[in-house]
């Protein structure tokens, strides 16, 4: 049955309801072994609810879900024994030391103390926290706590690692360090499933992703495919002095395939951003800021949902 399916995660019509609220609405997806798969979407899109069902800590309301070839309803503990979870909010023990946090988590999986001792040393090294091993967790920086949470999620050497917004709230340097560690895991063959509302994170880490909006999947593909399918090669961004944007009328509408009027700027989707900027200039338009850039997943999301990812 489910074991015959080569996917690590297989979902069909997967639905989660909380009372009258539908958090996840009949989504279909598969994650292959070794793949790095992402759920991209704004807050409240249903990403976390989907992740919690995969992590077997949230019962499926309806639809089909198998994880590692098993049924979360029947085999929760057996599945959880083989997955690693990095929750959206850290669940570290603030009163324990860095090392004790890892050791006790190994005990939760029933690992022997000898095995734990060896793995903890390796993991501390991997997340670059060896020097802090005897320190309490509470005063650590956000980035260090996040790295510790990732180390903790690896203590059982999981086949599948679930990361719910792994870098939200971190500064750029901390994020890059984390991405580097996740990239190494991916290269070792660990299957990663992550949620994010950062386009750059999805582009950096995901082989394939689904875009979620309002509990549904609205698009699926590799970052490159999604950009090619749903956006143009380049984007011309213009910011006008206060009050001017409202007076433009349709003056920009023929500059590209599509024009988005955001509250603070205008986006023109075109394969030739510089050309469009020149035409705008010839028409006597004088924006305060002009930028030509490549399309990103942010543009895909805007196109698909009519809204920005990060409010």
């Amino acid at each position: 049955m489910a074991t015959a399916n080569p996917s690590l995660i297989h979902a069909r019509g997967l639905t989660k309801k909380f009372g009258g609220l539908t958090a996840v609405d009949a989504i279909d997806f598969d994650v292959a072994p070794g793949e790095s798969f992402g759920f991209l979407g704004p807050n409240g899109a249903g990403k976390t609810s989907a992740m919690r069902m995969i992590a077997c800590v949230s019962p499926v309301t309806s639809g089909e879900l198998s994880v590692l070839g098993m049924d979360p309803q029947a085999d929760g503990p057996r599945i959880r024994a083989r997955i690693g979870v990095v929750p959206q909010q850290d669940t570290l023990d603030m009163e324990l030391t860095v090392r004790d946090n890892l050791s006790i988590y190994g005990r939760y999986f029933g690992l022997s103390r000898a095995v734990i001792r060896q793995r903890v040393d390796e993991l501390l090294d991997f997340v670059q926290l060896t020097e802090r091993s005897g320190d309490q967790v509470e005063p650590l920086s956000g980035g260090m706590k996040r790295r510790l949470t990732i180390a903790r999620s690896l203590v059982n050497e999981p086949d599948l690692l679930l990361l719910d917004e792994p870098t939200t709230g971190l500064d750029p340097q901390a994020r890059h360090l984390l991405w580097d560690r996740l990239y190494r895991l991916k290269q070792k063959g660990v299957t990663l499933v992550l949620t994010t509302h950062y386009m750059d994170e999805a582009e950096q880490l995901c082989d394939r992703l689904v875009v979620m909006d309002k509990a549904k999947i609205v698009a699926e593909g590799s970052p490159r495919q999604l950009i090619e399918e749903h956006s143009t090669r380049e984007v011309l961004e213009m910011r006008f002095p206060v009050g001017v944007q409202e007076t433009l009328g349709g003056q920009l509408d023929d500059l590209g395939d599509r024009v988005e009027h955001l509250p603070d700027r205008v986006l023109v989707y075109t394969d030739d951003g510089d050309g469009a900027a020149t035409i705008a200039h010839e028409r006597g338009l004088r924006p305060e800021m002009v930028l030509v850039r490549r399309s990103s997943l942010e543009d895909v999301f805007l196109r698909l949902t009519g809204r920005s990812l990060v409010d």
């Binding site: 909380f18 992590a55 800590v57 949230s58 503990p77 929750p87 669940t91 999986f109 029933g110």
Partner: protein
């Protein structure tokens, strides 16, 4: 005892290892202060008045006992209740809401029921420590009448668990600690004052006596006291044991439900 529950217990002991010294000092000092002030200080006044307040004709069981000897086992039961209430409120909120360590546990093969069992075994161990030290202090005060008094220790442990289990179940339904204030103000403290700890409930008006007899702490106090003073009657002792045992069992069952609902949703 399932293995995963033991791992939860390991976690609790690991956290406790950081605070055990302070905890033992205060578990020792607190009964010293109480027994000195109430038992010896106030007790000298009571005993000088012929012990009337502490029993007189109505409290037949207390005739011939010093107020200190009367007070100590009652206070033992009350201390077990207070320790249990402390351990099954804020630390539960911590695991669920503050550091979310229970959420971390159930992301592994550990189940919510294992969290409940592990946590209650830990509370049982804490209770045994507190009650044991209390008993030691009682011995040092010379307030123990015979070797049978040691039976008050397991009795107090049972009293504590009878409070810990249902309070833990309740705590798992709370989003913030506001409810705990009410629990202490309108539950724990009135029970502490009016369940026979300081004076026999026969001193209360008839109606309040009846109320006291259906509340749990009186059963704990009377069980501890009658065992400590060697005045236990089989019938009433059985009633106490069944009452406190059922409260523990129902509390555990309720906690299984509330922890499951809170952690898996």
């Amino acid at each position: 005892m399932s293995a995963p529950a033991v791992r939860v217990l390991e976690h609790e002991l690991l956290v406790y290892r950081r605070v055990w010294r302070g905890s033992i000092v205060s578990s020792f000092l607190s009964p010293v202060l109480f027994l000195a002030a109430m038992g010896v200080g106030l007790g000298s006044l009571v005993d000088a008045n012929g012990g009337a307040a502490a029993g007189g004709a109505s409290g037949a069981a207390l005739v011939g006992v010093s107020y200190l000897a009367f007070l100590a086992p009652g206070l033992l039961a009350s201390t077990a209740m207070q320790t249990a209430a402390g351990e099954s409120t804020f630390p539960i909120m911590g695991g669920l809401v503050w550091d979310k360590s229970f959420h971390g546990m159930i992301a592994t093969p550990i189940l919510p029921a294992d969290v409940v069992v592990g946590k209650l075994i830990y509370i049982g161990m804490r209770l045994l420590l507190v009650v044991g030290l209390f008993f030691l202090v009682t011995v040092l005060f010379g307030a123990v009448t015979g070797p049978g008094a040691i039976l008050a220790v397991p009795a107090a442990l049972l009293t504590g668990l009878a409070f810990a289990a249902p309070i833990a179940a309740y705590s798992a339904t709370q989003r913030d600690p506001n409810g705990f204030n009410a629990l202490f103000r309108f539950g724990v403290i009135p029970l502490f004052l009016f369940s026979g700890t300081f004076f026999p409930i026969e001193q209360l008006p008839d109606l309040l006596q009846l109320v006291a007899k259906v509340t749990p702490l009186w059963h704990g106090v009377d069980l501890c006291r009658s065992l400590a003073l060697g005045t236990a009657e089989p019938g009433l002792t059985l009633v106490h044991l069944v009452y406190l045992g059922s409260m523990t069992a129902l509390g555990v069952a309720a906690a299984f439900v509330t922890f499951q609902r809170r952690l898996v949703k």
